[in-house]
Amino acid sequence: MNKAVLIIAFLVTITSNSCRDNGDQKPTLIPDSKSDYTLIVPEDFPEMEIPPNNPLTKAGVALGKRLFFDPILSADSTMSCSTCHLPSLSFTDNNAFSKGIDGKSGRRSAMSLLNLGYNKNGFFWDGRVATLEDQALVPVEDTIELHNNWDTLIEKIKQHKEYPSLFEKAFGIQSVSSIHKGLVVKAIAQFERTLVSSRDSKFDKVKRGEATFTPDELIGFDMFFDKSPEYKDAECAHCHNVPLFTTNEYFNNGITEAHDLEDFEDKGLGAITGDRFDIGKFRAPTLRNIELTAPYMHDGRFNSLEEVIEHYSSGGKYSETVSPLIRPLNLTKKEKRQLLAFLKTLTDTTFVKNPEFQAAVYN
């Protein structure tokens, strides 16, 4: 009898279990225990796409920050990323062309690093690399930038009195021999993803109802976004849309006259894709903190925002690939002033003074 009861109980148990709907058997989600860094972002910002193989961690961001500011990255230990990307200038350097360790000038202006973690459309002015990690690989060996080589740099890092333990904390490596360039650029990319706007520009405050535009700023705002037919459409937001004030798309904005596309000295995106219809196109930079990032355009040809506005008002110069959005705006002096007043509301001094983004003193 007891045996029979056992058999019955066994069979009933099997049958009962088989009744469970597979839908209830959700896969167990293993929390990413490595991701312990909370990114504080403005509420109207999009979701940042962070690669699953490089989650933000406190130790990783701290290591990335240290590397970003450390001249160990250059061959002669005189320059770091921060030499051309200064926090006080929204991570630009006020130069048309940045100079590398050998005193050689590059051919393009240093781009602002503000909010670049949101970019999913290629890095540099010409979009030549797809990820922030890949971007960080380039300047170290570029002969007109840090002019180092990765093998030498990695050896120096391995010999450093502090870096090995910082890499261990950030990436859980078991030995110094595991340090490689892939981890260096991961750490730098982690730090760069934290370079997000504060919510303290006047524009953001006005949006939240905590401040009001002056009459000039308000009309400039209207022109920028073409809010009403009462004021001219300055056509700005097509390429510099909210909330980042860039769409990160590539445009030929008519700054270079060329009756033959081959006449473009710097072919921009066209040199990367090999497509002649991309010649003269460059990635639209963010206009957040634009007041701090002179000179302007990929080659720093305009020293002031007044010159930039004058260019767009004129309708630009002819070339085959110039965007149809570039057309004569015929802005009056007053309208130019109003547009400028609005652009200055995008200045975010809290961001540039954020202690988390400043160089620290290390031993």
Binding site: A4, I8, S18, G254, S323, P324
Partner: protein, 270 residues
Amino acid sequence: MRNLLILTFLSIILMSSSCDNNPQVEITSDVKLNFLANYNSELLLLEKEYLYAGDMPIKFSHFNFYVANISLIKQNGNAFDETELVEIDFVDFPHNLNQVDEAEKGQTIQINKVPVGEYDGIKIGFGVPADLNRTKTNDYGPENPLSMASHYWDGWSSYIFSKIEGKADMDFDGAFETNAGEGLTYHMGTDDVYTTRTLFENITLKENETLELQLNLDLKKLFLMPNPDFDQNGDGYLDIENFESVHAEDRLVIAKQLMNNYSEAISLTE
């Protein structure tokens, strides 16, 4: 004892039968919607020169639009039952005259597990329906078509439903000069310009067979203009030399006509 065992086995069989939560399994197949762009019945290639009304040379650099609430429809008495295929998606034709092979492929949206059967047509919305148009780009993850900042216009509190950009040689001097006002930018949005079209066609979706539907869009037809206020040339098309730019709020009538023209411009081949 023996009876007890028999009873138990019967109970188990009954319990096993009661486990079947889904006795009627719906038979489904996949559907592929292939969008292909033409200009005046010729394959559309960006940067290629075509002729507009009055033989005006024209070329395009952007042509894209949102599609929404795409459904297969089936007549049921005086009404139609709808089987939704797509809630929202973005159709873009980015290929230029050096990319003929890619352009010929068009853009395909694949929908899996659609109930097989006979349908009487397909319904398509052009633009972003009002409920979704109340949302903003930051409401969506990076892969969602509604997350694109380039297709939201804060000034209208609306998505840009469709973008057509290009240039026309309005003075017939052989050059397309945006700095001489020859750029064309038509950006349509706001709830008023959302439009739908139902294409009636016998559509049969069979088991184990992917159904491919080709949707052809003739870009030239988007410029059809029945309103003489915007067609003073009297050729049936928008006077692009006078209305080279459309932003919905200031030229809503034109924007609405261009979006309505999607109904005219689309055709279906199975």
